[in-house]
C-alpha cells in the first residue's frame, strides 16, 4: 500500500490493518500530519492543525488496541471538524474575525461522541464565515480550494471538510447543513455527505445559523464510512432541544442488502430546471444504474416544490435573530457578503416569516405523502458543477437556486454520492432523500449505487 493508498483508505481498511498490527494509529497520524504540512499550504483546508492533540489521541488509541480495542468503533481514525464545532481548549473561529480568538470551554456533543468512539482529532477545518458568507480576497481567513481544480471553490459552507477529505488529509469530517452545506461540498468534491433527519444528530455546541434549518452530519469518501461515522454520532442529546428520542438504527449492517424492488421516486420539476446538460446526462445514467440494480424508478410530483425557496426567508430571518446584537455593534467584523446577507434578514416582516413557515408545513406534508408511495427520492445534488472563485467573487453573484434546501425545509435525511464528472473534470453528484429517520435506506441506496460504479475511486492530482 502506497502512502497515497493509505491516505485514501476506508475506515474499515484502516481498522483491519490496525488489528493485523501492520499499521499503528501513531504511524498513520504522523503520516497524515506530514501530508497536511505538505499539501495544505495550497489548499487552506485547515484553520488549526491540532498536532499535540492528534498524537495524544493516537497514543491513546494505540494503548486501547493493545487492550483489544475497548469496543471503540472508530479507534485510531483521523478526523477533522468544521470550525463551527466547539472544541475544548482549541480555537473555534467560525471563519469569522468576530470569533477569531474564541477558545471554547467545552466540546460540542458530536466532538465528544467521536472522541468516545476512539477517533483522532487532526484539527479544525475552514468554513465559510458563520456558515453563510464567502471569503473574498483579503478576508482574515483564506478560502479552501477544490483539490480537483484549485481555481474552483470546493463548495460551502463545509469547504475545509470537503477539501481535506478530497486531498486525503483526514478519513472523516463533520460538516453542518442549513441549505446544503454538507451535500454541496460533497457534490463539488466527489465525496459522500449526509444531512441526517432533523433531530437525529445533536447540534449542541455547534454555532447556529438558522435554528429550524440547521443540521449536523458526517462527510466521508464512501457511503460505508459515512454510515460508520453516523453510527457514532446519532442518538438523543438533552443539550439540543430539537434532538429526537427515536431509536438509532444499525446503519452499516443493511448496506449490502441491495435495492431490488425498492421504489425510487424522481421529482423532475424544480430539481432538473436549470441543470447543465452534463448533469442531466449523468443523472439519467444514475437512474439507469438504479434500475439495473432492481429498483423500480418512477416520476413523482410534489405540488408545492416551487415554493421551496421560501427557505431563504426563514434562513435569513433566523440568521438575523441570531446575529442582530453583534452585527449592529460590530458590523466591521463581518465580511461584506455575510454582513449584507444577515442585515437583509432584518428586513423580512414577521408575517412573511410566518407565511414561509406555513409553506414549509405544506411542503413537508406533500413530501411525506409522496414517500408513502416510494421509498426514496433521487435528484441531482447540484444543477451545475463547482463554480470558479472568479464567478462567486463577482459582486453580482447572488444566492443561486439549489436542489438541497427542500430537504432542510422538510427535515428529511438526504445523501450526496458521486455520480460522474463533467467534461472539465469536475465531480457531479446524485442526491438521495428518504423518510424521517430512515437514514438506513438512504445509505443502502447510496451504497448499492456506489458499489455499481467507479466514480468514488477517482482521486485528484494534487
Amino acid at each position: 500500500m502506497t502512502s497515497d493508498d493509505l491516505a485514501y483508505a476506508t475506515i474499515l481498511e484502516i481498522a483491519t490493518r490496525y488489528r493485523r498490527r501492520d499499521l499503528s494509529p501513531v504511524e498513520l497520524t504522523k503520516a497524515l500530519l506530514a501530508r497536511i504540512e505538505r499539501l495544505d499550504p495550497a489548499l487552506h483546508a485547515f484553520v488549526t492543525v491540532t498536532t499535540e492533540r492528534a498524537l495524544a489521541d493516537a497514543r491513546a488509541a494505540e494503548a486501547a488496541l493493545l487492550r483489544g480495542g475497548d469496543g471503540k468503533p472508530l479507534l485510531g481514525i483521523p478526523v477533522g471538524y468544521k470550525d463551527i464545532y466547539a472544541t475544548r481548549g482549541i480555537p473555534t473561529t467560525a471563519g469569522s474575525a468576530l470569533l477569531a480568538d474564541w477558545v471554547p470551554e467545552d466540546d460540542a456533543t458530536c466532538v465528544t461522541r467521536l472522541r468516545q468512539a476512539g477517533s483522532v482529532m487532526l484539527g479544525k477545518l475552514i468554513t465559510h464565515e458563520f456558515a453563510f458568507g464567502i471569503q473574498f480576497p483579503g478576508h482574515r481567513f483564506q478560502p479552501a480550494k477544490n483539490p480537483w481544480n484549485l481555481d474552483h471553490m470546493p463548495g460551502g459552507s463545509s469547504s475545509g471538510s470537503a477539501a481535506a477529505l478530497t486531498a486525503g488529509l483526514v478519513h472523516g469530517a463533520l460538516g453542518s447543513d442549513t441549505g446544503g452545506s454538507i451535500r454541496g461540498p460533497a457534490a463539488f468534491c466527489n465525496l459522500v455527505g449526509l444531512k441526517p433527519t432533523y433531530g437525529r444528530v445533536s447540534r449542541a455546541g455547534v454555532l447556529t445559523l438558522s435554528w429550524s434549518l440547521d443540521h449536523t452530519g458526517p462527510m466521508a469518501r464512501t457511503v460505508e464510512d459515512c454510515a460508520l461515522l453516523l453510527q457514532a454520532l446519532a442518538g438523543h442529546d438533552p443539550a439540543d432541544p430539537a434532538s429526537s428520542r427515536e431509536p438509532v438504527a444499525d446503519y452499516a449492517e443493511p448496506l449490502g442488502r441491495g435495492i431490488r424492488g425498492l421504489r425510487v421516486g424522481v421529482p423532475r420539476a424544480y430539481f432538473l430546471e436549470g441543470a447543465d446538460a452534463e448533469v442531466e446526462k449523468a443523472f439519467e445514467q444514475a437512474l439507469a444504474a438504479l434500475r439495473l440494480l432492481g429498483a423500480v424508478v418512477t416520476d413523482v410530483e410534489i405540488p408545492s416544490i416551487l415554493a421551496s425557496w421560501a427557505f431563504l426567508a426563514i434562513l435569513m430571518a433566523e440568521a438575523f435573530a441570531y446575529h442582530e446584537r453583534d452585527v449592529r455593534a460590530h458590523p466591521e467584523l463581518y465580511g461584506d457578503v455575510l454582513r449584507e446577507r444577515v442585515l437583509a434578514g432584518g428586513l423580512i416582516l414577521g408575517s412573511e416569516y410566518v407565511q414561509a413557515q406555513r409553506l414549509r408545513a405544506r411542503l413537508q406534508a406533500e413530501m411525506l405523502e409522496v414517500l408513502r408511495r416510494v421509498d426514496v427520492l433521487v435528484t441531482p445534488t447540484t444543477p451545475k458543477p463547482a463554480p470558479t472563485f472568479a464567478v462567486v467573487w463577482d459582486p453580482s453573484f447572488g444566492f443561486p437556486k439549489s436542489n438541497m434546501p427542500p430537504f432542510n425545509m422538510t427535515g428529511l435525511p438526504a445523501l450526496a454520492v458521486p455520480c460522474g464528472f463533467s467534461s472539465q473534470g469536475l465531480p457531479l453528484s446524485l442526491q438521495i432523500a428518504g423518510r424521517p429517520f430512515d437514514e438506513a435506506t438512504v445509505l443502502r441506496v447510496g451504497h448499492a449505487y456506489e458499489q455499481a460504479t467507479e466514480w468514488h475511486r477517482r482521486r485528484p492530482r494534487i
Binding site: 425557496w309 449584507e340 413557515q357 408545513a361
Partner: protein, 68 residues
C-alpha cells in the same frame, strides 16, 4: 421588490446597508419572498399548535370524581 421598498424597510428596521450593496440585498429579498408573496395562505393549515404537552411523569392520575 424595488430599491425604494428596500430603503423603506431599512428605515423601519433601523438597519443601515451601504448604497453600493443595496442591489444585492434587493435581489436576495426578491428571491426569498417570491414564494411567500405568491402564496394564497387561505387554504393552508395554520401553524398551531405552537406548543404541545406530554403528561408529566409521576403526576397522580386525574379521577373523574375530582370535579364532584
Amino acid at each position: 421588490m424595488t430599491l425604494d421598498e428596500v430603503r423603506a424597510r431599512m428605515k423601519a428596521a433601523g438597519i443601515e446597508i451601504a448604497e453600493n450593496r443595496l442591489e444585492m440585498v434587493r435581489r436576495l429579498l426578491t428571491d426569498a419572498l417570491a414564494p411567500v408573496q405568491a402564496f394564497d395562505s387561505r387554504g393552508a393549515r395554520a401553524l398551531e399548535p405552537a406548543v404541545t404537552f406530554d403528561a408529566i411523569q409521576g403526576a397522580e392520575p386525574r379521577r373523574d370524581d375530582d370535579d364532584e
